[in-house]
Symmetry: C2
Subunit: 486 residues, 2 copies
């Protein structure tokens, strides 16, 4: 057992993070907009208390005094070491630059002009490079940035992985793009009906009432101030089912936090282990479950009942083609299951070049356009539909994008392992029963929290390291069947 003093400190850290999550959720979901300035101050105060506590030398003394080098000690030591390396002034300047960068990005979007944003981007890149310099032993300056979101994963590993993904997807996309477009969704899909169906699906996926809630948010996200307090958001539109898939995606994130071993509560281990593993959960539910034939063979009648008119004459095969249209597009968050990873990979390649200095921030729009032409074969008409679309860089979030692609890769690996372990999985999905599926995910992924490293977790769940083959195989088989390719 860890010492009571160590546990008390970790409990307080967890309580502060709980407060920070509630303040952030509140700001995005319910806060009167005029409250923003004071909220920024309050969130900053909580973050700096967390930082102060993480870097406290006494924490290191307490860790040294532990008799065993447990998973808990290892995780706390890691957080302490990372936080200690970054001077307080740099951390504060990054927070300030991120907050100001976000405001400048909003203005640049209004003006549809990258030039407005460029100085803020330049500053964030510069700060990210200074951050990386705090870790002189890193093989690549991008490593410490990536490590914030995908602990223990290196730039070399991700580069190799994503190159294989790109090389598999680009030719598959070319094959599909040559085919005629499948039927599109026509007519209105009223939000109220989508929400009703969404709530039925969420309950079937596994939350117990009283331990979660659903709200609207401009940018859907999931938060879990505590394990029995999971907050899902989505954004329904009456012209598409995107909000329904965003809902399943966010519930995937929520179920991960919900499934962490309750014994880990109020320790450093009580959350998902990395953004990539988190994204594997959201993508698995959104795409591998939520865009499958077996899933909709159960739910299509319910959807037809709650959205009368829209799908009256649509059968499951037709519906599946509707929700699995592949099309090179400009906007990442609207991309389909296949092209999504390409949007992410090109951002990874660009931020790598920005960090290693081979790309000047001023040249980003041209580089962006070249990547879209090369990978997706489309022309970028303006900055709003190009380099200004994502919030990440404005807030100094660099090293995050590849975790989306890691999530897609891992989701397919987990799905492949699941199919082996659960031979009746398809029958379950056809019956709207997710009990065994969720139990498997809890056992292999959720319950561990941060006890295992991402690499350890992946190894024990799928029997090997990250591997794009299952994803490429899944996408190839799925789309060749849907598009009637040979």
């Amino acid at each position: 057992m860890p010492s009571p003093e160590l546990l008390a400190r970790l409990g307080e850290l967890s309580d502060l993070q709980h407060a920070g999550q509630v303040l952030a959720w509140d700001q995005q979901v319910v806060m009167p907009p005029e409250g923003g300035a004071a909220r920024g101050q309050a969130l900053g105060a909580i973050q700096s208390l967390v930082h102060d506590r993480l870097v406290d030398p006494q924490l290191s003394v307490l860790l040294d005094a532990e008799r065993a080098d447990t998973q808990l000690v290892r995780a706390v030591r890691r957080d302490h070491d990372v936080a200690r390396r970054v001077p307080g002034e740099l951390a504060a300047e990054m927070a300030r630059a991120g907050s100001e960068g976000y405001e400048i990005w909003l203005r640049a979007r209004q003006a549809n002009d990258f030039a407005v944003f460029e100085p803020a981007l330049r500053r964030n890149i510069e700060l990210a490079r200074r951050y990386a310099e705090c870790f002189p032993k890193a093989a690549h300056p991008y490593d410490p940035l990536l490590d914030r979101y995908e602990p223990g994963t290196t730039t070399a590993e991700v580069s190799a992985l994503l190159a294989r993904v790109r090389d598999g997807l680009v030719p598959l996309l070319a094959e599909i793009a040559a085919e005629p477009e499948p039927p599109a969704l026509s007519g209105e899909v009223p939000i109220a009906g989508q929400r009703e169906v969404g709530l039925l699906i969420v309950r079937a996926m596994g939350f117990e009432d009283g331990a979660w809630r659903l709200d609207d948010a401009v940018h859907p996200f999931a938060a879990a101030p505590s394990q029995r307090d999971v907050r899902i958001t989505s954004r329904f539109e009456d012209s598409s089912l995107m909000g329904l898939f965003a809902l399943m995606h966010e519930v995937g994130h929520g179920l991960y936090e919900y499934g962490v071993d309750p014994d880990l509560a109020r320790t450093t281990l009580d959350s998902g282990v990395s953004l990539g593993v988190h994204e594997s959960q959201s993508r698995l539910w959104e795409n591998l479950v939520g865009r499958s034939e077996a899933f909709w063979s159960y739910w299509l009648p319910t959807l037809q009942e709650h959205l009368p008119g829209a799908f009256a004459d649509v059968d499951v095969p037709t519906f599946l083609r509707m929700i699995n249209v592949v099309r090179p597009t400009l906007i990442r968050v609207e991309a389909d299951e296949l092209t999504y990873s390409l949007h992410v990979i090109l951002r990874f390649e660009l931020e790598l070049a920005l960090i290693d200095g081979t790309l000047d921030p001023g040249d980003l729009p041209q580089a962006w356009a070249a990547k879209y032409a090369d990978m997706l074969g489309i022309e970028v008409p303006d900055d709003l539909n190009g380099v200004l679309q994502d919030i990440h860089w404005s807030e100094g979030i660099i090293g995050y994008f590849p975790t989306y692609a890691i999530g897609n890769v891992l989701a397919a690996q987990l799905w492949s392992a699941l199919r082996t372990d659960l031979p009746a999985l398809d029958d379950d999905l056809r019956a709207g029963d997710y009990g065994d599926l969720r139990a498997w995910l809890v056992d292999k992924v959720h319950r561990h929290g941060r006890r295992l490293t991402p690499a350890e977790l992946i190894q024990q769940a799928v029997g090997g390291p990250l591997d794009p083959a299952p994803m490429l195989e899944h996408l190839g088989a799925k789309y060749r069947a849907l598009y009637g390719l040979t």
Copy 2:
């Protein structure tokens, strides 16, 4: 100017209080109920950070270093001195006992049995007495308890004040009780219509959009994490207009926080100065504005439009009698403008006896029944409608009740001063215009925040100390007219 280090500390304190307010609001309004246990921990962590910072000896050093004994220094010194006197273990035990007492109180209410609650009450009384002992110079052990909610006001002052209120109200009530009952509200008042009217009234009262929100809550309250983030709650029922008056009440609280001088933001001075002064604002809007002939001569047509049917044939005089029924009842929160103070005064007298040891907690139900028979002339049928109705004592909140009566007294004093300063007040109310009224309240009460003490604030606003005469005069005149007494 206070030193930057002092201001930084006060800013952090304010940020922590902001976080605590959001966590508490969230818990009562939106949190999934299963999140309660973890939320209790997180709120406790924030409270103990606030306490640690308040008692920090370095804070005292910084205060000593200030060149001038400003209002800010005085207020911070006060908070520091009070917090320093109470040992950390006692504060923690009070928090624990309050939280456990609340759970026990809920069980006692389910069983409708005071005996279940008695041990928790005994413990809270004992802890309150130990708290009082930390202030050996107090003239009465109740003084330090009262001082938590009404700084600088003594038990002797409140006893004298409330005795005069009681002696004025009891005979007036007897006169009215002898009269036939006025017409009652009949029929349904749909919640949706009440909410529409309520929102119109709130906007007219003075909030700007984007700086406030309205939600439902079982026990209506107002919170203001920051000045431009005011959160009102109410509870509408389709059988009465109580929710509409609760709404005006809570908006009165909200407008106080909303009107504090923005220059005081993130200092110790940036909130209402005492619960009594706060309650004067809520009661003024709820009763002196909201139950007046002038107010409803403007709003009744709107109410009739949004609640068709319920008031179709009702004129203003009849409506006024409906919303001003005086009747001795068992439940404080449902009491009318006249009897309300009596409910409060008897609780004050009981808690005074509990604290000075002349009443044993085991004898409370009998003492409670005797007071209700004596002051209100009614019999208490059971504990749920008697001693178990209020949450306060379960959480160790002792010394709070008298602030409700102080609020009623002060509201009438302010109203009297207002009528002198604003001769056109009645015309304004008849026109639905609250601009001058609110400007007066901002000038005399709101903007000062905690710059003045409650006594100083009352002196400059009404030209003298607390005085029950205006309230007794107002109630006498109002009800004699409504009930046709001579």
